[in-house]
């Protein structure tokens, strides 16, 4: 999907949602920026976006969300607001085919962004041209101490799945648990499970147990597929001593593990095993509310 097509799709949503006079303003700005405006024009357009358009939810329909997925696989703007869509149109509109210039401009915007802009700019990661150039920036977002910034990268965003190396990926998943964020909105959790992450997560579970603190049932999702003996022992411990939701999670994790020891464990909890084999309840449902 080309940059222009993404701009058109976003623009349609903004214009549908915007007050009439603001829709005109939005279209003028986008046109001006596409035809090669100055950095100052871009800053002003970004600065006035909320003042002109407000920040109400886009409230996209299932058809519109499907169009988003078609335009850009993995793109999930289901909880985006109008100012976010408009600001990303402005940024995309400035691309004139010069990768270095686009990256420098984007970096400058990130450096002087307010918190709402940061969330927006990170949510835009899957839409930017030259995706290979934004990895360091995306990792910076995943290091943020501000949970909404972290989640703008980690949640409902295909960019980390596609671009993060194993170390970056693993730390993003671990950090999500560490800051009390959810795992299930992370795209590619199952596809990118790996032995190293499995070990990190089990170590983390032990830390939590040592401190008598609860362990998120979601943690076991990324443990199951690569569980070794020690990890299977951990899951046995959860099956024996965990709460109802923890036990469901352990059964789901064991179902994803091909080791004979995992099968044996599951055989001891036939009801849980049957439900887990049927995928019930799913991982998203197991995440605490």
């Amino acid at each position: 999907m080309t940059n222009a097509a993404l701009i058109d799709l976003l623009s349609t949503w903004v214009i549908r949602k915007a007050p009439t006079d603001a829709a005109c303003w939005f279209e003028q700005q986008a046109t001006k920026l596409r035809s090669g405006a100055t950095d100052k024009d871009l800053y002003l357009a970004l600065g006035y976006a909320i003042r002109r358009l407000g920040k109400s939810d886009l409230g996209l329909s299932p058809d519109e969300l499907a169009a988003a997925r078609t335009a850009r696989p993995g793109w999930d703007p289901g909880d985006w607001s109008i100012d976010q869509a408009a600001r990303l149109v402005f940024i995309l509109a400035t691309d004139d085919g010069d990768a270095a210039r686009f990256k420098a401009r984007l970096e400058q915007l990130f450096r002087t962004a307010d918190i709402g802009e940061l969330i927006t700019f990170y949510r835009g990661l899957p839409l930017y041209p030259y995706p290979e150039l934004h990895i360091a920036r995306a990792r910076e977002g995943a290091r943020s101490a501000m949970q909404p910034i972290f989640e703008a990268v980690a949640h409902r965003n295909p960019y980390p799945l596609e671009r993060f190396d194993e170390n970056a990926w693993n730390h993003m998943v671990l950090k999500a648990l560490f800051v009390g964020s959810k795992l299930h909105p992370i795209q590619g959790l199952d596809a990118r499970a790996n032995p190293s992450l499995m070990r990190m997560l089990c170590d983390y579970a032990h830390e939590r147990w040592a401190a008598s603190r609860p362990v998120s049932p979601e943690l076991w999702r990324c443990v199951g597929p690569h569980a070794d003996h020690a990890a299977i022992d951990d899951l046995a411990r959860v099956l024996a001593a965990g709460g109802a939701v923890d036990r469901q999670a352990a059964a789901l994790a064991l179902t994803a593990c091909s080791a004979p020891a995992a099968r044996e464990l599951l055989a001891r909890v036939p009801e849980l095993a049957r439900a887990a084999a049927a995928g019930s309840p799913g991982w998203a449902a197991l995440a605490a509310p």
Binding site: L44, G54, D57, S81, D114, G116, A145, P148, I149
Partner: protein, 306 residues
């Protein structure tokens, strides 16, 4: 409900946020100022402005407070010309950020030529961008500095109803009110205004264009100064609507001219903010009215600020 229109929250602890929220402070405004020692590079200034538009806003939201800020080059650092010029160049980038409610705090410290130059330039910037101005009046030679701040603002054709003169005392308030400016009072132990004096000011001058703030920062200061002063006024039989004006309505009206602060921000926040930025205030979920104790908790023993 209270609005504290002058707080340097980057210097305060989470305990302060918790106590402010418990005492009913719904929103705070963080004016850009110096940091107790002068910055030497524009880069640190950029990071500072990003901090007060970014991480500090997030931090406040965690405790259920809405956080706003002002941006500007303060009078002390205006005396470093190289830094000042560089800051003036980047200020327009920040002036239109969400939640920037004024250009400030600007004005005079020692009333030097450089302070005067950058004060005037920033008054023009505020006019151009239709933003209110927060004026920091000097600690020394205060009355003269205050009069000069106002004269220069009028010379630059600013509407005085768009300009807040802050850190007033008994010696400056009459002149400020007579000229049509907002008169803010920083309730501050030892140096600026005690809150008992504030009660007397309100008794004398009423609530028209007057409000108080805590100016809490890295020094000895009290982030509960506004709720405590409200309680003192209550005990002094000052009418509830007067108290409300001095501690809530007036700062909202003054800085609300920016279009960047509105009580709906905390009474009925946009859903995108509820999902992302404005956490820890479960009382506001589901469109409920906030339930705030009228008398601040845990401050009774320590109500007077000298």
């Amino acid at each position: 409900m209270f609005v504290d229109s002058h707080t340097h929250m980057i210097s305060r602890t989470t305990d302060d946020y918790e106590r402010m929220a418990a005492a009913g402070v719904m929103a705070c405004i963080e004016p850009a100022f110096w940091l107790g020692q002068p910055r030497t590079h524009v880069g640190t200034y950029i990071d500072y402005l990003s901090m007060i538009c970014g991480f500090e806003r997030f931090r406040a939201g965690q405790f259920g407070l809405r956080h706003y800020c002002t941006v500007g080059l303060n009078s002390k650092e205006a005396n470093n010309e190289e830094l000042a010029d560089a800051v003036m160049e980047i200020l327009p980038r920040y002036a239109l950020k969400e939640g920037v409610v004024a250009i400030g705090e600007i004005g005079y410290d020692e009333q030097t030529a450089l302070e005067d130059k950058y004060y005037r330039l920033q008054l023009e910037l505020a006019k151009e961008l239709a933003l209110p101005v927060m004026v920091h009046t000097p600690h020394r030679d205060k009355r003269q500095g205050t009069l000069r701040s106002m004269a220069v603002a009028l010379e630059h054709k600013l509407d005085p109803s768009w300009v807040v003169i802050d850190h007033n005392n008994e010696e400056t308030v009459r002149d400020v009110l007579d000229r049509g400016f907002w008169a803010a009072f920083s309730i501050y132990p030892f140096t600026k205004m005690g809150n008992e004096r504030m009660v007397d000011i309100v008794k004398t001058y009423g609530a028209e264009r007057i409000f108080c703030d805590s100016a809490c920062d890295w020094g000895v200061s009290d982030p509960l100064a506004v709720p405590k002063t409200a309680e003192l006024m209550r005990r002094a039989q000052i009418a509830e609507d007067v108290i409300r004006k001095v501690t809530y309505d007036n700062p909202l009206a003054a800085y609300g001219k920016s279009g960047q602060i509105n009580e709906q921000d905390w009474l009925n926040p946009p859903s995108i903010d509820q999902r992302t930025l404005y956490m820890g205030n479960s009382v506001l979920r589901g469109g409920q009215a906030p339930r705030i104790d009228e008398v601040p908790r845990g401050v009774d023993d320590n109500l007077h600020i000298a």
